[in-house]
């Protein structure tokens, strides 16, 4: 068995090997993130069958559990690490071609650091360790948003930094209150001592933690940074922020609600927040003329859908939420990469400037179309499977209120359909006015490979969703079984 701590240690080591490699060969540097992510992907996939039987607990430094930091690798963690490394791998391949200007060495370093942070958040079983990894992810993403150094990039990064720092400050207050109450930082050990969240002394830290993680997850009142940051960053960074970074916020919220506090009374509130986020995100996306801003708002909407599914709190609801996380990570990363490449060639972010791209870049446009169809939820793609599970889970609750709310969810899908199909129409059926004659030349393989692999995954998982749903069902059951989590960590 491979020790899961290597999932964090190897990429972290490689991160700091990058400047050293830069002394030897500048060109080698951009392949190091690929190396690290291939390693993580292989290990994580190898771990999944093992952890589906029983979660693996790693005691770092050999300290017994409530005193030392432990890693908790259950199905959810192993699966998410696999997803993070898959998306990370594809985007790092894309970046070898896309990132040419500026301090490329620093870009690759920060990028790998961001992925280390994301993997660490998913794996750790210690609440303060979670905060530290969260900060690693946040600080590297602030810097990466500003990577281009242009006006909008710097402005977006500044806003993101101010909001993100306040958010992580709130997380730290929550942790301080929990530590003051229980004198421990281990999530299982805290969870063992929390029996009810109705007490004010429990509700206050819960509220601080949820608000703090909500900033990174971009839940409705806290999402002001997202459209700026995602649209002003370089496209490869928008892809990783939309695909992975905001999902880690959602992951942290799921862990805090279900494992740490067992706060089932709060779930209806979460459900409403998710629905509001969904509707506002989709409506805001509808009136955008900038394609990357539209995709960013659509990310907000999709996060709302995930939160809605989490709020259902049934095994099937959680399974739907995790399925949606996967589907959105794949489709949105694909879209940002494909659209990013079109912007790179055409030089404009306006939707109208994409006119005629269907003829000029057939492969990239078809990939973008598939990504859009998957996001909307057309049948042979993975987005259909995830939305179908969420609808099924909502109806299975047999609650009139939920059925009405589901109507709003489907309404949001219709809005989504409307603005995305407009993009498709411009892509294929509108002739561009001026520079339509000039040919754009061939597409680099470093762009085509990741895009094609994403398409293969989207179509493959859409046709065979059972592959995924078996893993996700196990993850959802483990997540809802709070007692088993506590026992498996605390028993020696």
């Amino acid at each position: 068995m491979v020790n899961p701590v290597l999932l964090i240690v190897i990429p972290l080591g490689l991160t700091f090997a990058i400047p050293l490699c830069g002394f030897i060969s500048k060109r080698m540097v951009k392949y190091i993130p690929i190396l690290g992510m291939i390693f993580n992907l292989v290990i994580a996939i190898a771990l999944i069958p093992q952890v589906m039987k029983a979660p693996i607990i790693i005691k770092l430094g050999g300290f017994p559990v409530p005193f030392g930091i432990n890693l908790m690798v259950d199905t959810l963690a192993a699966f998410l690490v696999a997803l993070i490394s898959l998306v990370g791998l594809m985007i790092s391949i894309y970046a070898t071609h896309y990132i040419k200007k500026g301090a490329t060495q620093n870009y690759h370093m920060l990028y790998l650091l961001l992925l280390v942070g994301a993997s660490g958040i998913v794996l750790t079983g210690d609440i303060f360790n979670l905060f530290v990894f969260f900060e690693i992810l946040c600080i590297s993403s602030y810097a990466l948003v500003a990577y281009n150094g242009d006006k909008p990039g710097i402005e977006a990064a500044t806003k993101y930094l101010i909001q993100g720092t306040v958010g992580s400050g709130l997380i730290l207050i929550g942790i301080a209150l929990l530590y003051g109450r229980f004198g421990t930082l281990n999530m299982a050990h805290i969870a063992q001592q929390i029996h009810s969240t109705t007490l004010l002394s429990m509700f206050v830290p819960l509220a601080f933690l949820l608000t703090g993680f909500g900033v990174e997850a971009a839940i409705l009142p806290l999402n002001a940074w997202l459209p700026d940051a995602h649209s002003s960053a370089p496209s490869s960074i928008s892809a990783i922020l939309s695909g992975i970074a905001i999902k880690t916020g959602v992951y942290a919220i799921i862990r805090v609600i279900f494992i740490l506090f067992g706060a089932h009374s709060l779930l209806h509130f979460i459900l409403f927040l998710g629905l509001l986020t969904l509707l506002v995100g989709e409506l805001a996306a509808f009136r955008q003329n900038n394609i990357k801003r539209m995709l960013a708002y659509s990310s907000t909407g999709q996060i709302g859908l995930i939160i809605f599914a989490v709020g259902l709190a049934s095994t099937m609801g959680i399974e739907g939420a995790l399925f949606q996380i996967t589907a959105h990570a794949l489709a949105k990363a694909l879209l940002f990469l494909a659209v990013g490449y079109m912007i790179y060639r055409s030089g404009s972010m306006e939707i109208d400037s994409l006119a005629g791209m269907g003829k000029k870049m057939p492969v990239v446009s078809i990939a973008a179309t598939i990504g859009v169809f998957s996001l909307i939820g057309f049948p042979p793609f993975v987005g259909f499977a995830s939305k179908f599970i969420i609808v099924k889970a909502t109806l299975a609750q047999n609650d009139l209120l939920l059925t009405i709310l589901l109507g709003f969810v489907l309404l949001a899908t219709v809005i989504e359909c409307a603005y995305f199909l407009r993009v498709i129409q411009i892509l294929y059926f509108k002739n561009s006015s001026q520079h339509s004659k000039q040919s754009l030349g061939g597409t680099s393989p470093a762009v085509l490979i990741p895009i094609c692999i994403f398409v293969v995954f989207i179509v493959g998982l859409g046709i065979y969703p059972e592959v995924l749903s078996k893993i996700l069902n196990s993850a959802a059951r483990m997540l809802l079984d709070r007692g088993a989590y506590i026992r498996s960590v605390l028993s020696p």
Binding site: F128, V132, E135, I139, Y142, A143, A146, G149, D150, K151, P152, I154, E155, A156, A157, T158, L161, I162, T165, V166, G169, L172, I173, I175, A176, Y179, G180, G183, L185, P227, D228, S231, S232, A284
Partner: protein, 113 residues
């Protein structure tokens, strides 16, 4: 008790500055005050009045008088994180000033909803 009031006061002052001031440098100072308040709050959680350092050098020190070392370790970590954030924020402020010639966040609004 007075420590808690001080810590929470600092947090609130910091948040107030972040929310109301327009100058970016003042906002960054506000963020720093906010973080410092949280650090003091964490230290308070482990403080024992009249306590000593938790080192077993002399025999006969009552264990209940020892100050909890964990929050101090946490605060050290958090301070390092805070320094990194602050450095990044200040460098962004420099770049922002070069682009716009002002640090007034009301005037810096290329990006809108």
């Amino acid at each position: 008790m007075i420590y808690y009031i001080g810590a929470i006061g600092l947090i609130i002052i910091g948040l107030y500055i972040v929310l109301t001031k327009r100058n970016l440098i003042k906002i960054i100072i506000g963020l720093d005050l906010f973080e410092t308040g949280i650090f003091i709050l964490l230290i308070c959680a482990g403080y024992v009045r009249g306590g000593t350092a938790p080192i077993f050098s002399e025999a006969g020190i009552d264990a209940s008088l020892m100050v909890d070392p964990v929050p101090q370790a946490l605060v050290l970590t958090a301070i390092v994180i805070g320094v990194a954030t602050l450095a990044l924020a200040l460098s962004l402020a420099i770049r922002l000033y070069r682009h716009y010639g002002t640090l007034d966040m009301q005037k810096i609004r290329e990006l809108k909803w």
